[in-house]
Protein backbone atom coordinates (compact mmCIF):
# COMPACT_ATOMS: atom_id res chain seq x y z
CA UNK A 1 0.00 0.00 0.00
CA UNK A 2 2.07 2.85 -1.15
CA UNK A 3 1.96 5.67 -3.50
CA UNK A 4 4.87 7.46 -5.09
CA UNK A 5 5.17 10.94 -6.37
CA UNK A 6 7.93 13.01 -7.85
CA UNK A 7 9.17 15.87 -5.75
CA UNK A 8 11.60 17.00 -3.14
CA UNK A 9 11.80 15.99 0.45
CA UNK A 10 10.03 19.16 1.47
CA UNK A 11 7.16 18.60 -0.93
CA UNK A 12 3.90 17.43 0.60
CA UNK A 13 3.16 13.90 -0.52
CA UNK A 14 -0.12 12.92 -2.08
CA UNK A 15 -2.91 11.32 -0.14
CA UNK A 16 -3.11 7.54 -0.25
CA UNK A 17 -5.11 6.37 -3.21
CA UNK A 18 -5.55 2.72 -2.41
CA UNK A 19 -8.42 1.18 -0.50
CA UNK A 20 -8.07 -0.38 2.97
CA UNK A 21 -6.66 -3.91 2.93
CA UNK A 22 -9.76 -5.74 4.05
CA UNK A 23 -13.31 -5.03 4.95
CA UNK A 24 -12.78 -6.55 8.36
CA UNK A 25 -9.91 -4.21 9.12
CA UNK A 26 -10.10 -2.41 12.46
CA UNK A 27 -11.76 0.95 12.64
CA UNK A 28 -8.57 2.66 13.77
CA UNK A 29 -7.11 4.38 10.69
CA UNK A 30 -3.68 3.24 9.66
CA UNK A 31 -0.90 5.77 9.96
CA UNK A 32 1.47 6.45 7.09
CA UNK A 33 5.03 7.63 6.86
CA UNK A 34 7.12 8.96 4.01
CA UNK A 35 10.59 8.01 2.81
CA UNK A 36 12.76 9.08 -0.08
CA UNK A 37 16.03 7.95 -1.57
CA UNK A 38 18.80 9.53 -3.59
CA UNK A 39 16.33 10.50 -6.35
CA UNK A 40 14.13 12.42 -3.89
CA UNK A 41 11.05 10.52 -4.96
CA UNK A 42 8.83 10.25 -1.92
CA UNK A 43 7.21 6.93 -1.09
CA UNK A 44 4.23 6.73 1.21
CA UNK A 45 4.38 3.62 3.34
CA UNK A 46 2.08 2.38 6.05
CA UNK A 47 3.41 1.97 9.57
CA UNK A 48 2.57 -1.73 9.33
CA UNK A 49 4.79 -2.20 6.30
CA UNK A 50 7.58 -0.18 7.86
CA UNK A 51 7.64 -2.49 10.86
CA UNK A 52 9.87 -4.76 8.78
CA UNK A 53 12.61 -2.17 9.04
CA UNK A 54 14.07 -2.08 12.52
CA UNK A 55 15.78 1.21 11.67
CA UNK A 56 12.66 3.08 10.52
CA UNK A 57 10.53 1.48 13.21
CA UNK A 58 13.00 2.75 15.78
CA UNK A 59 13.01 6.21 14.26
CA UNK A 60 9.20 6.37 14.30
CA UNK A 61 9.04 5.23 17.91
CA UNK A 62 11.69 7.67 19.03
CA UNK A 63 10.49 10.69 17.09
CA UNK A 64 6.82 10.27 17.99
CA UNK A 65 5.75 11.95 14.73
CA UNK A 66 2.16 12.76 14.09
CA UNK A 67 0.91 12.02 10.60
CA UNK A 68 1.16 15.70 9.69
CA UNK A 69 4.74 15.92 10.90
CA UNK A 70 5.59 12.74 9.06
CA UNK A 71 4.14 14.13 5.87
CA UNK A 72 6.19 17.27 6.19
CA UNK A 73 9.40 15.41 7.05
CA UNK A 74 9.94 12.31 4.91
CA UNK A 75 12.78 10.09 6.13
CA UNK A 76 15.72 10.79 3.85
CA UNK A 77 17.87 7.87 2.71
CA UNK A 78 20.29 9.69 0.46
CA UNK A 79 22.58 6.71 0.21
CA UNK A 80 19.93 4.46 -1.35
CA UNK A 81 19.13 4.63 -5.04
CA UNK A 82 15.52 5.45 -5.82
CA UNK A 83 14.78 2.21 -7.66
CA UNK A 84 16.30 0.17 -4.83
CA UNK A 85 14.22 2.02 -2.25
CA UNK A 86 11.18 1.35 -4.40
CA UNK A 87 11.98 -2.37 -4.34
CA UNK A 88 12.34 -2.29 -0.57
CA UNK A 89 9.09 -0.39 -0.11
CA UNK A 90 7.28 -2.82 -2.43
CA UNK A 91 8.63 -5.80 -0.51
CA UNK A 92 7.60 -4.28 2.82
CA UNK A 93 4.12 -3.64 1.48
CA UNK A 94 3.77 -7.11 0.03
CA UNK A 95 4.76 -8.73 3.28
CA UNK A 96 2.92 -6.39 5.59
CA UNK A 97 1.44 -8.36 8.47
CA UNK A 98 2.11 -11.68 6.73
CA UNK A 99 4.43 -14.45 7.72
CA UNK A 100 7.45 -14.38 5.44
CA UNK A 101 7.74 -17.31 3.03
CA UNK A 102 10.83 -19.55 3.14
CA UNK A 103 12.01 -18.23 -0.21
CA UNK A 104 11.58 -15.10 -2.24
CA UNK A 105 11.92 -15.49 -5.97
CA UNK A 106 11.19 -11.86 -6.86
CA UNK A 107 14.60 -10.53 -6.01
CA UNK A 108 16.68 -8.97 -8.77
CA UNK A 109 18.85 -11.36 -10.70
CA UNK A 110 21.26 -8.66 -11.83
CA UNK A 111 24.40 -8.70 -9.71
CA UNK A 112 24.74 -4.94 -9.23
CA UNK A 113 21.12 -4.44 -8.30
CA UNK A 114 21.23 -7.29 -5.83
CA UNK A 115 24.40 -5.87 -4.33
CA UNK A 116 22.76 -2.45 -3.85
CA UNK A 117 19.67 -4.08 -2.44
CA UNK A 118 21.75 -6.01 0.10
CA UNK A 119 23.42 -2.81 1.24
CA UNK A 120 20.13 -0.93 1.47
CA UNK A 121 18.37 -3.73 3.31
CA UNK A 122 21.26 -4.11 5.69
CA UNK A 123 21.20 -0.38 6.38
CA UNK A 124 17.44 -0.35 6.91
CA UNK A 125 17.76 -3.46 9.10
CA UNK A 126 15.11 -5.53 7.35
CA UNK A 127 16.14 -8.90 8.66
CA UNK A 128 13.96 -11.25 6.61
CA UNK A 129 14.69 -9.51 3.33
CA UNK A 130 18.38 -9.48 4.16
CA UNK A 131 18.22 -13.22 4.71
CA UNK A 132 16.65 -13.73 1.27
CA UNK A 133 19.11 -11.41 -0.39
CA UNK A 134 22.11 -13.08 1.23
CA UNK A 135 20.83 -16.46 0.19
CA UNK A 136 20.42 -15.28 -3.37
CA UNK A 137 23.87 -13.72 -3.34
CA UNK A 138 25.34 -16.91 -1.91
CA UNK A 139 23.67 -19.03 -4.58
CA UNK A 140 25.27 -16.96 -7.34
CA UNK A 141 28.44 -18.99 -6.94
CA UNK A 142 26.77 -22.39 -6.64
CA UNK A 143 28.47 -24.85 -8.96
CA UNK A 144 31.02 -22.30 -10.13
CA UNK A 145 34.74 -22.90 -10.44
CA UNK A 146 37.15 -20.94 -8.21
CA UNK A 147 38.08 -18.61 -11.05
CA UNK A 148 34.44 -17.93 -11.83
CA UNK A 149 33.87 -17.15 -8.15
CA UNK A 150 36.84 -14.81 -8.22
CA UNK A 151 35.35 -13.01 -11.18
CA UNK A 152 31.81 -12.80 -9.82
CA UNK A 153 32.93 -11.51 -6.45
CA UNK A 154 35.96 -9.55 -7.63
CA UNK A 155 38.16 -11.38 -5.16
CA UNK A 156 41.71 -10.01 -5.27
CA UNK A 157 44.66 -12.35 -5.61
CA UNK A 158 47.32 -12.53 -2.90
CA UNK A 159 49.53 -10.24 -4.96
CA UNK A 160 46.72 -7.69 -5.31
CA UNK A 161 45.97 -7.89 -1.59
CA UNK A 162 49.63 -7.32 -0.78
CA UNK A 163 49.87 -4.37 -3.16
CA UNK A 164 46.72 -2.83 -1.66
CA UNK A 165 48.07 -3.30 1.82
CA UNK A 166 51.36 -1.64 0.87
CA UNK A 167 49.47 1.22 -0.71
CA UNK A 168 47.31 1.65 2.40
CA UNK A 169 50.38 1.67 4.64
CA UNK A 170 52.06 4.21 2.41
CA UNK A 171 49.00 6.42 2.48
CA UNK A 172 48.69 6.12 6.25
CA UNK A 173 52.35 7.03 6.60
CA UNK A 174 51.92 10.10 4.43
CA UNK A 175 48.85 11.18 6.36
CA UNK A 176 50.65 10.76 9.67
CA UNK A 177 53.60 12.77 8.38
CA UNK A 178 51.24 15.49 7.18
CA UNK A 179 49.51 15.61 10.58
CA UNK A 180 52.88 15.84 12.37
CA UNK A 181 53.99 18.67 10.10
CA UNK A 182 50.70 20.50 10.67
CA UNK A 183 51.00 20.06 14.42
CA UNK A 184 54.57 21.39 14.32
CA UNK A 185 53.41 24.38 12.29
CA UNK A 186 50.66 25.06 14.81
CA UNK A 187 53.13 24.88 17.65
CA UNK A 188 55.34 27.48 15.98
Amino acid sequence: MSSTEQGTSSAAPAEPTTAPESAAAPEVPESFYYVHGKDKVVHKVSAGALQHSALIHGMISNLGYTEEQAKANPFPFENIDGDILQMVVDWCNQHKGKPTPPEDTNLPKQKEKLFDLVLAVNYLEIKELLTYCCKQVAMMVKGKSPEEIREIWMIPTDAEDEAAEKEAKKRAGKEAAGETAAAAGDAK
Binding site: L119, A120, L130, C134, V137, A138, I155, D158, D161
Partner: protein, 405 residues
Protein backbone atom coordinates in the same frame (compact mmCIF):
# COMPACT_ATOMS: atom_id res chain seq x y z
CA UNK B 1 26.35 1.99 5.33
CA UNK B 2 29.22 0.92 3.14
CA UNK B 3 29.57 3.13 0.16
CA UNK B 4 29.23 1.60 -3.26
CA UNK B 5 32.32 1.96 -5.45
CA UNK B 6 31.58 4.34 -8.30
CA UNK B 7 33.46 2.52 -11.02
CA UNK B 8 32.34 -0.93 -9.96
CA UNK B 9 31.87 -3.45 -12.72
CA UNK B 10 31.02 -6.42 -10.52
CA UNK B 11 30.07 -7.19 -6.99
CA UNK B 12 32.97 -7.04 -4.61
CA UNK B 13 32.23 -9.35 -1.75
CA UNK B 14 34.62 -7.60 0.57
CA UNK B 15 32.79 -4.30 0.16
CA UNK B 16 29.81 -5.75 1.95
CA UNK B 17 29.51 -5.21 5.68
CA UNK B 18 31.10 -7.91 7.80
CA UNK B 19 27.81 -9.25 9.15
CA UNK B 20 26.32 -9.43 5.67
CA UNK B 21 29.33 -11.37 4.46
CA UNK B 22 28.85 -13.79 7.33
CA UNK B 23 25.20 -14.24 6.43
CA UNK B 24 26.21 -15.03 2.85
CA UNK B 25 28.84 -17.54 3.94
CA UNK B 26 26.32 -19.23 6.19
CA UNK B 27 24.39 -20.26 3.05
CA UNK B 28 27.35 -21.99 1.49
CA UNK B 29 27.82 -25.66 1.20
CA UNK B 30 31.14 -27.45 1.50
CA UNK B 31 32.07 -26.98 -2.15
CA UNK B 32 31.48 -23.23 -2.22
CA UNK B 33 33.53 -22.80 0.94
CA UNK B 34 36.22 -25.03 -0.46
CA UNK B 35 36.48 -23.22 -3.81
CA UNK B 36 36.36 -19.86 -2.07
CA UNK B 37 39.11 -20.92 0.33
CA UNK B 38 41.47 -21.65 -2.54
CA UNK B 39 41.32 -18.13 -3.96
CA UNK B 40 43.72 -16.31 -1.65
CA UNK B 41 45.18 -16.23 1.83
CA UNK B 42 42.43 -13.90 2.86
CA UNK B 43 39.64 -16.14 1.58
CA UNK B 44 41.28 -19.13 3.22
CA UNK B 45 41.39 -17.31 6.51
CA UNK B 46 37.72 -16.34 6.17
CA UNK B 47 36.79 -19.91 5.21
CA UNK B 48 38.41 -21.24 8.33
CA UNK B 49 36.21 -19.01 10.45
CA UNK B 50 32.94 -20.04 8.76
CA UNK B 51 30.95 -22.38 10.94
CA UNK B 52 30.92 -25.82 9.36
CA UNK B 53 29.99 -29.30 10.35
CA UNK B 54 32.76 -31.84 10.95
CA UNK B 55 33.63 -34.36 8.25
CA UNK B 56 35.13 -37.77 8.06
CA UNK B 57 37.63 -37.79 5.20
CA UNK B 58 38.40 -40.95 3.25
CA UNK B 59 41.27 -40.84 0.82
CA UNK B 60 41.69 -42.97 -2.29
CA UNK B 61 44.40 -41.36 -4.40
CA UNK B 62 44.50 -44.09 -7.05
CA UNK B 63 40.77 -44.55 -7.43
CA UNK B 64 39.39 -43.35 -10.74
CA UNK B 65 35.96 -42.11 -9.75
CA UNK B 66 37.05 -39.85 -6.93
CA UNK B 67 40.08 -39.28 -4.79
CA UNK B 68 38.65 -37.76 -1.64
CA UNK B 69 35.38 -38.50 0.06
CA UNK B 70 33.94 -36.32 2.77
CA UNK B 71 31.11 -37.68 4.88
CA UNK B 72 29.08 -35.86 7.47
CA UNK B 73 27.63 -38.97 9.06
CA UNK B 74 24.35 -37.06 9.10
CA UNK B 75 21.36 -38.31 7.13
CA UNK B 76 18.97 -36.12 5.19
CA UNK B 77 15.19 -36.38 5.08
CA UNK B 78 15.49 -39.34 2.67
CA UNK B 79 17.72 -41.16 5.13
CA UNK B 80 20.69 -40.70 2.84
CA UNK B 81 24.02 -39.61 4.14
CA UNK B 82 25.39 -36.40 2.69
CA UNK B 83 28.65 -37.24 0.94
CA UNK B 84 31.01 -35.18 -1.16
CA UNK B 85 33.26 -37.04 -3.55
CA UNK B 86 35.97 -34.86 -4.96
CA UNK B 87 37.67 -35.79 -8.18
CA UNK B 88 40.39 -34.03 -10.05
CA UNK B 89 39.54 -32.45 -13.39
CA UNK B 90 40.99 -32.97 -15.90
CA UNK B 91 41.82 -36.49 -14.90
CA UNK B 92 39.79 -39.58 -15.50
CA UNK B 93 38.04 -38.87 -18.74
CA UNK B 94 34.94 -39.92 -16.81
CA UNK B 95 33.98 -36.41 -15.74
CA UNK B 96 30.66 -36.62 -17.51
CA UNK B 97 29.80 -39.79 -15.66
CA UNK B 98 30.79 -38.53 -12.28
CA UNK B 99 29.03 -35.26 -12.17
CA UNK B 100 26.04 -34.54 -10.07
CA UNK B 101 24.84 -34.84 -6.55
CA UNK B 102 27.73 -36.68 -5.04
CA UNK B 103 30.65 -35.99 -7.36
CA UNK B 104 32.35 -32.64 -7.34
CA UNK B 105 35.14 -31.52 -9.59
CA UNK B 106 38.33 -30.03 -8.25
CA UNK B 107 39.94 -28.15 -11.07
CA UNK B 108 43.47 -29.42 -10.62
CA UNK B 109 45.59 -31.93 -12.44
CA UNK B 110 45.65 -35.28 -10.71
CA UNK B 111 49.08 -35.52 -9.18
CA UNK B 112 50.50 -36.39 -5.82
CA UNK B 113 51.43 -32.76 -5.28
CA UNK B 114 47.84 -31.63 -5.83
CA UNK B 115 46.45 -34.51 -3.82
CA UNK B 116 48.64 -33.58 -0.88
CA UNK B 117 47.76 -29.93 -1.29
CA UNK B 118 44.08 -30.83 -1.27
CA UNK B 119 44.32 -33.03 1.81
CA UNK B 120 46.33 -30.43 3.72
CA UNK B 121 44.03 -27.65 2.59
CA UNK B 122 40.85 -29.49 3.57
CA UNK B 123 42.39 -30.41 6.91
CA UNK B 124 43.29 -26.79 7.45
CA UNK B 125 39.98 -25.24 6.44
CA UNK B 126 37.49 -27.83 7.65
CA UNK B 127 37.12 -29.83 10.79
CA UNK B 128 38.06 -33.24 9.43
CA UNK B 129 38.86 -36.57 10.94
CA UNK B 130 40.70 -39.08 8.81
CA UNK B 131 38.85 -42.22 7.88
CA UNK B 132 40.29 -44.82 5.56
CA UNK B 133 43.20 -44.33 3.22
CA UNK B 134 42.52 -46.72 0.40
CA UNK B 135 45.20 -47.68 -2.05
CA UNK B 136 44.04 -49.58 -5.13
CA UNK B 137 47.32 -50.65 -6.62
CA UNK B 138 47.56 -52.40 -9.93
CA UNK B 139 50.16 -52.65 -12.66
CA UNK B 140 49.47 -49.05 -13.69
CA UNK B 141 50.70 -47.81 -10.31
CA UNK B 142 54.39 -48.46 -10.57
CA UNK B 143 57.15 -47.51 -8.14
CA UNK B 144 57.58 -44.08 -9.65
CA UNK B 145 53.91 -43.25 -9.28
CA UNK B 146 53.64 -44.72 -5.83
CA UNK B 147 56.80 -43.25 -4.34
CA UNK B 148 55.57 -39.70 -3.65
CA UNK B 149 52.38 -40.99 -2.07
CA UNK B 150 54.29 -43.34 0.22
CA UNK B 151 56.65 -40.51 1.13
CA UNK B 152 53.64 -38.38 1.94
CA UNK B 153 52.18 -41.12 4.14
CA UNK B 154 55.50 -41.34 5.96
CA UNK B 155 55.85 -37.61 6.46
CA UNK B 156 52.26 -36.52 7.00
CA UNK B 157 51.29 -35.21 10.38
CA UNK B 158 48.70 -37.86 11.23
CA UNK B 159 46.62 -36.94 14.22
CA UNK B 160 47.45 -40.01 16.28
CA UNK B 161 50.96 -40.30 14.90
CA UNK B 162 49.97 -43.24 12.73
CA UNK B 163 47.82 -43.87 9.68
CA UNK B 164 44.37 -44.47 11.19
CA UNK B 165 43.09 -46.98 8.63
CA UNK B 166 44.90 -48.23 5.56
CA UNK B 167 43.10 -50.43 3.10
CA UNK B 168 45.21 -51.87 0.32
CA UNK B 169 43.63 -53.54 -2.68
CA UNK B 170 46.55 -55.04 -4.55
CA UNK B 171 46.32 -56.36 -8.07
CA UNK B 172 50.02 -56.37 -8.64
CA UNK B 173 52.83 -57.86 -6.58
CA UNK B 174 55.67 -55.40 -7.24
CA UNK B 175 53.47 -52.48 -6.21
CA UNK B 176 52.48 -54.22 -2.99
CA UNK B 177 56.08 -55.12 -2.28
CA UNK B 178 57.12 -51.55 -2.91
CA UNK B 179 54.54 -50.29 -0.44
CA UNK B 180 55.48 -52.80 2.24
CA UNK B 181 59.14 -52.10 1.78
CA UNK B 182 58.91 -48.32 1.85
CA UNK B 183 56.14 -47.58 4.30
CA UNK B 184 57.66 -46.32 7.52
CA UNK B 185 54.64 -44.99 9.33
CA UNK B 186 52.78 -47.19 11.82
CA UNK B 187 49.22 -48.10 10.99
CA UNK B 188 46.29 -48.44 13.36
CA UNK B 189 44.13 -50.69 11.19
CA UNK B 190 45.46 -52.26 8.05
CA UNK B 191 43.52 -54.40 5.63
CA UNK B 192 45.18 -55.97 2.66
CA UNK B 193 43.18 -57.69 -0.05
CA UNK B 194 45.01 -59.24 -2.93
CA UNK B 195 43.64 -60.07 -6.36
CA UNK B 196 46.88 -60.96 -8.04
CA UNK B 197 46.60 -63.01 -11.18
CA UNK B 198 49.28 -65.63 -11.46
CA UNK B 199 49.55 -65.23 -15.21
CA UNK B 200 50.47 -61.60 -14.73
CA UNK B 201 53.95 -61.29 -16.27
CA UNK B 202 55.01 -58.94 -13.52
CA UNK B 203 54.16 -61.62 -10.99
CA UNK B 204 56.18 -64.24 -12.82
CA UNK B 205 59.21 -62.07 -12.93
CA UNK B 206 58.72 -61.18 -9.29
CA UNK B 207 59.77 -64.67 -8.17
CA UNK B 208 58.73 -65.25 -4.58
CA UNK B 209 55.63 -63.18 -4.13
CA UNK B 210 55.99 -62.96 -0.39
CA UNK B 211 57.53 -60.07 1.41
CA UNK B 212 60.07 -62.21 3.20
CA UNK B 213 62.00 -59.29 4.61
CA UNK B 214 60.83 -57.44 7.72
CA UNK B 215 58.79 -54.30 7.25
CA UNK B 216 59.57 -50.95 8.86
CA UNK B 217 56.20 -50.21 10.36
CA UNK B 218 53.94 -51.65 13.02
CA UNK B 219 50.26 -52.41 12.70
CA UNK B 220 47.73 -52.63 15.51
CA UNK B 221 45.02 -54.55 13.69
CA UNK B 222 45.84 -56.51 10.57
CA UNK B 223 43.14 -58.10 8.45
CA UNK B 224 42.46 -59.27 4.92
CA UNK B 225 44.04 -61.86 2.73
CA UNK B 226 47.59 -62.84 3.57
CA UNK B 227 47.96 -65.51 0.95
CA UNK B 228 50.01 -63.61 -1.59
CA UNK B 229 52.34 -61.57 0.53
CA UNK B 230 52.52 -62.65 4.11
CA UNK B 231 55.42 -64.56 5.60
CA UNK B 232 56.68 -65.21 9.09
CA UNK B 233 59.13 -62.31 8.99
CA UNK B 234 56.35 -59.92 7.98
CA UNK B 235 54.19 -61.31 10.72
CA UNK B 236 56.89 -60.73 13.28
CA UNK B 237 57.95 -57.30 12.15
CA UNK B 238 54.42 -55.92 11.83
CA UNK B 239 53.97 -56.73 15.52
CA UNK B 240 50.19 -56.66 15.29
CA UNK B 241 47.97 -56.73 18.34
CA UNK B 242 45.27 -58.52 16.39
CA UNK B 243 45.55 -60.49 13.16
CA UNK B 244 42.51 -61.78 11.38
CA UNK B 245 42.98 -63.26 7.92
CA UNK B 246 40.58 -65.09 5.69
CA UNK B 247 43.46 -66.60 3.73
CA UNK B 248 47.14 -67.20 4.34
CA UNK B 249 49.99 -69.21 2.91
CA UNK B 250 51.53 -70.15 6.22
CA UNK B 251 52.50 -73.74 6.92
CA UNK B 252 52.70 -75.60 10.22
CA UNK B 253 56.44 -75.02 10.20
CA UNK B 254 55.99 -71.29 9.60
CA UNK B 255 53.66 -71.10 12.58
CA UNK B 256 56.10 -73.07 14.66
CA UNK B 257 58.83 -70.59 13.83
CA UNK B 258 56.54 -67.69 14.69
CA UNK B 259 55.37 -69.23 17.96
CA UNK B 260 58.91 -70.02 19.04
CA UNK B 261 59.85 -66.42 18.51
CA UNK B 262 56.79 -65.30 20.48
CA UNK B 263 57.49 -67.74 23.29
CA UNK B 264 61.06 -66.54 23.63
CA UNK B 265 59.81 -62.97 23.83
CA UNK B 266 61.82 -62.11 20.72
CA UNK B 267 58.82 -60.73 18.81
CA UNK B 268 55.13 -59.84 18.92
CA UNK B 269 55.03 -58.87 22.53
CA UNK B 270 51.82 -56.90 21.94
CA UNK B 271 49.96 -59.83 20.41
CA UNK B 272 46.44 -60.47 21.74
CA UNK B 273 44.60 -62.40 19.02
CA UNK B 274 45.21 -64.38 15.87
CA UNK B 275 42.60 -65.90 13.59
CA UNK B 276 43.73 -67.39 10.31
CA UNK B 277 43.77 -70.47 8.13
CA UNK B 278 47.01 -72.24 7.29
CA UNK B 279 47.60 -73.32 3.74
CA UNK B 280 47.50 -76.92 4.98
CA UNK B 281 45.74 -78.96 7.59
CA UNK B 282 46.94 -78.22 11.09
CA UNK B 283 49.41 -80.72 12.48
CA UNK B 284 49.64 -79.81 16.11
CA UNK B 285 52.73 -81.85 16.83
CA UNK B 286 54.57 -80.07 14.05
CA UNK B 287 53.28 -76.63 14.86
CA UNK B 288 53.89 -76.87 18.58
CA UNK B 289 57.17 -78.71 18.54
CA UNK B 290 59.63 -77.42 21.10
CA UNK B 291 57.07 -75.10 22.69
CA UNK B 292 56.16 -77.17 25.75
CA UNK B 293 52.53 -76.87 24.80
CA UNK B 294 49.99 -78.19 27.25
CA UNK B 295 46.84 -79.76 25.83
CA UNK B 296 43.81 -78.88 27.96
CA UNK B 297 40.83 -81.12 28.52
CA UNK B 298 38.09 -80.16 26.11
CA UNK B 299 35.35 -81.69 28.27
CA UNK B 300 35.38 -78.76 30.63
CA UNK B 301 34.61 -75.31 29.39
CA UNK B 302 37.59 -73.43 30.61
CA UNK B 303 36.87 -69.90 29.71
CA UNK B 304 34.18 -67.57 28.52
CA UNK B 305 35.60 -64.76 26.46
CA UNK B 306 35.00 -62.55 23.47
CA UNK B 307 37.19 -61.51 20.54
CA UNK B 308 37.92 -57.83 20.25
CA UNK B 309 35.97 -57.29 17.05
CA UNK B 310 32.65 -58.91 17.98
CA UNK B 311 30.36 -58.96 20.93
CA UNK B 312 29.72 -62.69 20.79
CA UNK B 313 30.71 -64.57 23.90
CA UNK B 314 32.52 -67.85 23.32
CA UNK B 315 33.19 -70.88 25.46
CA UNK B 316 36.64 -72.25 25.04
CA UNK B 317 36.97 -76.03 25.20
CA UNK B 318 40.41 -77.55 25.23
CA UNK B 319 43.14 -76.04 23.07
CA UNK B 320 46.86 -75.90 23.76
CA UNK B 321 48.40 -73.55 26.26
CA UNK B 322 51.80 -72.08 25.55
CA UNK B 323 53.64 -70.08 28.13
CA UNK B 324 55.87 -67.18 27.11
CA UNK B 325 59.22 -66.58 28.77
CA UNK B 326 57.67 -63.84 30.92
CA UNK B 327 54.92 -66.18 32.17
CA UNK B 328 52.15 -64.95 29.89
CA UNK B 329 49.91 -67.74 28.64
CA UNK B 330 48.33 -68.09 25.21
CA UNK B 331 45.83 -70.66 24.05
CA UNK B 332 45.87 -71.91 20.51
CA UNK B 333 43.27 -74.16 18.93
CA UNK B 334 40.77 -74.68 16.15
CA UNK B 335 38.18 -71.98 15.76
CA UNK B 336 35.62 -74.52 14.60
CA UNK B 337 36.29 -77.28 17.10
CA UNK B 338 37.43 -75.59 20.26
CA UNK B 339 35.08 -72.63 20.35
CA UNK B 340 31.36 -72.70 21.03
CA UNK B 341 28.90 -69.88 21.37
CA UNK B 342 28.04 -69.13 24.97
CA UNK B 343 25.33 -71.34 26.47
CA UNK B 344 25.38 -73.83 23.62
CA UNK B 345 26.23 -77.51 23.95
CA UNK B 346 29.33 -78.94 22.33
CA UNK B 347 28.25 -80.77 19.20
CA UNK B 348 29.22 -84.38 18.62
CA UNK B 349 31.58 -83.70 15.69
CA UNK B 350 33.51 -81.21 17.82
CA UNK B 351 33.83 -83.77 20.60
CA UNK B 352 35.06 -86.35 18.09
CA UNK B 353 37.64 -84.01 16.61
CA UNK B 354 38.90 -82.89 20.00
CA UNK B 355 39.13 -86.54 21.06
CA UNK B 356 41.10 -87.32 17.92
CA UNK B 357 43.45 -84.39 18.52
CA UNK B 358 43.99 -85.56 22.06
CA UNK B 359 44.68 -89.14 20.93
CA UNK B 360 47.16 -88.09 18.25
CA UNK B 361 48.87 -85.65 20.59
CA UNK B 362 49.42 -88.38 23.18
CA UNK B 363 50.79 -90.96 20.74
CA UNK B 364 54.36 -92.04 21.20
CA UNK B 365 55.06 -91.74 17.51
CA UNK B 366 53.55 -88.58 16.41
CA UNK B 367 52.86 -88.42 12.74
CA UNK B 368 49.39 -89.76 12.38
CA UNK B 369 47.70 -86.54 11.51
CA UNK B 370 46.80 -87.74 8.09
CA UNK B 371 43.68 -86.47 6.41
CA UNK B 372 40.54 -88.14 7.67
CA UNK B 373 37.29 -88.55 5.92
CA UNK B 374 34.32 -87.17 7.78
CA UNK B 375 31.42 -89.50 8.00
CA UNK B 376 28.42 -87.27 8.15
CA UNK B 377 25.44 -89.05 9.55
CA UNK B 378 22.38 -87.03 8.85
CA UNK B 379 18.73 -87.77 9.18
CA UNK B 380 18.05 -85.95 5.99
CA UNK B 381 19.24 -87.43 2.76
CA UNK B 382 20.36 -84.15 1.31
CA UNK B 383 23.73 -84.76 -0.24
CA UNK B 384 24.43 -81.05 -0.61
CA UNK B 385 24.18 -80.46 3.12
CA UNK B 386 26.46 -83.40 3.82
CA UNK B 387 28.96 -82.16 1.25
CA UNK B 388 28.88 -78.67 2.69
CA UNK B 389 29.45 -79.93 6.22
CA UNK B 390 32.31 -82.10 5.08
CA UNK B 391 33.86 -79.13 3.37
CA UNK B 392 33.30 -76.91 6.40
CA UNK B 393 34.92 -79.42 8.78
CA UNK B 394 37.81 -79.97 6.43
CA UNK B 395 38.39 -76.23 6.25
CA UNK B 396 37.99 -76.04 10.01
CA UNK B 397 41.08 -78.21 10.37
CA UNK B 398 43.10 -75.46 8.64
CA UNK B 399 41.76 -72.58 10.71
CA UNK B 400 43.35 -71.67 14.00
CA UNK B 401 42.90 -69.04 16.64
CA UNK B 402 45.27 -67.86 19.30
CA UNK B 403 44.39 -65.79 22.33
CA UNK B 404 46.94 -64.28 24.63
CA UNK B 405 45.37 -63.97 28.06
Amino acid sequence: MTSTPLNRTGISLFNLPYLVQNEIYANWDLMEIFHFSTLSKRTKSISKSIRKEPFLMHLSPFFKKYQIELCTGRKDENEKERIWRLHFVPFTGCERLYKGNFYYPVFLKNSCENFVFLVEHLKDVFEVKFGTLELCIGVEIDDVKMKPYVEWMNDFNWESGKVPALSVIARDEPSLKFLLKNLKRDVDQMKIDTYIRKENPASKSGGNPKCSTPVNFKVDVLTGNGEEWWATETMKSMDAIRMDFYQSDLSNLDMNQFLRSWKEGASNERLKEIKLPLRERVKWRTMLEGLDADLRDFRTARKIFRFAKDNQLYQLHGGFDITRADGRIATIGHELYNLIFENQPMEQYKIEECTRISRVWNLEQGDEEEEIEDVIVLEEADGHVADWRKYQRKQGRRHIFMIVW
